[in-house]
Amino acid sequence: MSQVLVNGVFLGCLFAVVAVGLTLVYGVMEVPNFAHAGVIVLSAYTTWSASAAGLPFALAALAGIACGALVSVLTEVLAYRWIIDRPAAAPAVALGLMLILQNVALRLYGGEGRSLDTPYDRVLLRLGGVSLSGVKAALVVLAVVSLLALHLLLSRTSLGRAMRAVAQDREAAAILGIPMRRQYALAFLIAGVLGGVAAIAYAPTFQVSPYMADEVLLSAFVVVVLGGLGSVWGAVAGGLVLGVVEGLGSAYLSPAYQSAFGFLLLVSILVLRPGGLRSTNARRVA
């Protein structure tokens, strides 16, 4: 049982890191960023090719994160920026970007899965009856560290305050003289960094392939709905809840249907609590 819970927490941390990136972008720009999956895939491939070229893992990981940040900001500058006044076009642009990014990865690296080796591959932590592989432990640590850093950024710095202001009310923030374009780019930068962290942290547990992020992205969107919009801590809480639910479902019912349990959770939340688990009053979900 506790082993199942630990696995659920691992999944939850992964979902939370991806979902926080989505919710930040949604908060400031109202874009459902399907292209986030492509950002994750490209940073995972960058890490893989850098470490295959002989770079030490830490440098390769940094290269991956930098690539994620760069690609994410590029999607904003080249595409999302131009539809800021037409939110109805956002899903279409996001889907187009996802097609482009995933197939760029497919084109550059081919379709077969690659395995990403890390220095902590063979570590196995044991505590009582619970075991946790080094890769999964590293993901949990990375997730906690990056989310704490984000929390400090959002709550303690003027940049973070400006970003929260934009998320609460775009027009009022613009009137108060907050440079909007910089905030948009910054949100995508942070989302890209978090996507890169997610990519290097979880690519070693699965494999690197153009479609590696599809299911994670789906789950992360469920987390965004669960946690309420634009709410970072809602996304963290939602991530943990969803991770534990999927972990329990796949352990006790059927592993093949793991993401279906997330879907059931989404449906029941929509039916029972249309505002999300921890709804923010800033925006209407349904």
Binding site: G96, L97, L270, P274
Partner: protein, 321 residues
């Protein structure tokens, strides 16, 4: 009146064209023709909820696959083909009703996320319920209609579907859907029964997708989960947006562009989809009403330049073309 004649003429013309393509082409080209025709039928349904209603529906591939798989499973139980087809369509429409009941509480982007997740779960079921669906490699579909009958049904469905869509589009139902797309809160406020209209649009849309799936299974002879993933849902969404959402011929143009790009261009893996993504973003940015919308806007401008005045009355015709 002229608009009706033009629309029905277009429907009959496309029907004949579909028949000629399906009977005239063979091999790989025949497969492309089949996909274009099947997608046109499915997209006519999507054009109701997404085109007229403005709801980004990413569950369409699941309904499409549901029709194909259900009819195949029902055929195995010994039912006559027509009964199996009708039951399959009815079953998928019931599923569409459930999806609509749950997700019509959500708007816009949340509707897209929820329906996308529905497709992902449907693909999981197609892949894992191996005793019914044959698992990841798919299953054969027993021949219920002869090939000639399937071809005639495919061609006829295009025409009938377009005629039905035109009828729905000019009826009060179409106006209500357009009102929802423009401003759902306002529509509700002035007395449009928004939830009922959305449910009806979603169920009809699911029915068209299921019927397309039934015919696809019959013609193709084999169905596999990889044909009904949420990637396919994306492509259907993209196709309708490219062609012109809410326009009568949008589905046909969109299906031809998307299938043509993904099946005919052999630029190596992924390249055609990159082209498609770029094209889709450009169309979204530059011609929000799709290729047909862009063409009719251009025609309008040319005509206005020729007559020397901006003629606003041609807008009505533009919506039909």
């Amino acid at each position: 009146m002229r608009a009706h004649v033009t629309a029905l003429g277009g429907a009959v013309g496309l029907s004949v064209l579909a028949y000629l393509l399906l009977t005239g082409l063979s091999g790989d080209q025949g497969q492309v023709a089949l996909l274009v025709v099947v997608w046109t039928i499915a997209l006519i349904g999507l054009n109701l909820i997404q085109g007229l209603g403005g709801y980004p529906n990413l569950a369409h591939a699941a309904f499409f696959g549901g029709g194909a798989y259900l009819s195949a499973v029902l055929l195995d139980t010994g039912l006559p083909m027509t009964v199996a087809a009708l039951l399959a369509v009815a079953g998928v429409m019931a599923a569409g009703l459930v999806v609509a009941l749950v997700f019509s509480r959500t708007r816009g982007q949340y509707f897209a996320i929820g329906t996308m997740f529905f497709t992902a779960v449907a693909t999981l079921v197609f892949t894992n319920a191996a005793d019914l669906t044959g698992g990841p490699n798919g299953r054969p579909v027993a021949l219920g209609y002869s090939l000639e009958a399937t071809v005639v049904l495919l061609a006829a469905s295009v025409g009938v579907g377009l005629a039905l869509f035109h009828w729905a589009s000019v009826s009060r139902f179409g106006d209500r859907l357009r009102a929802i797309r423009a401003d759902e809160d306002l529509a509700q406020h002035v007395g449009v029964p928004t939830s009922r209209v959305k449910l009806l649009a979603m169920v009809c849309s699911a029915g068209a997708a299921a019927w397309a799936g039934v015919l696809f299974g019959q013609y193709n002879g084999v169905v596999a989960p990889s044909q009904f993933t949420f990637g396919q849902s994306f492509l259907m969404f993209v196709a309708l947006g490219l062609g012109g959402a809410g326009r009568l011929l949008g589905p046909a143009v969109g299906a031809a562009v998307v299938i043509g790009l993904t099946q005919l261009l052999t630029l190596g893996p992924g390249v055609s989809q990159i082209v498609l993504g770029v094209l889709f973003i450009l169309v979204t940015l530059l011609a929000p009403e799709g290729v047909l919308g862009g063409v009719s806007a251009l025609a309008r401008r040319v005509r206005a330049a020729r007559t020397g005045r901006a003629d606003r009355s041609v807008r009505g015709e533009g919506a039909v073309a």
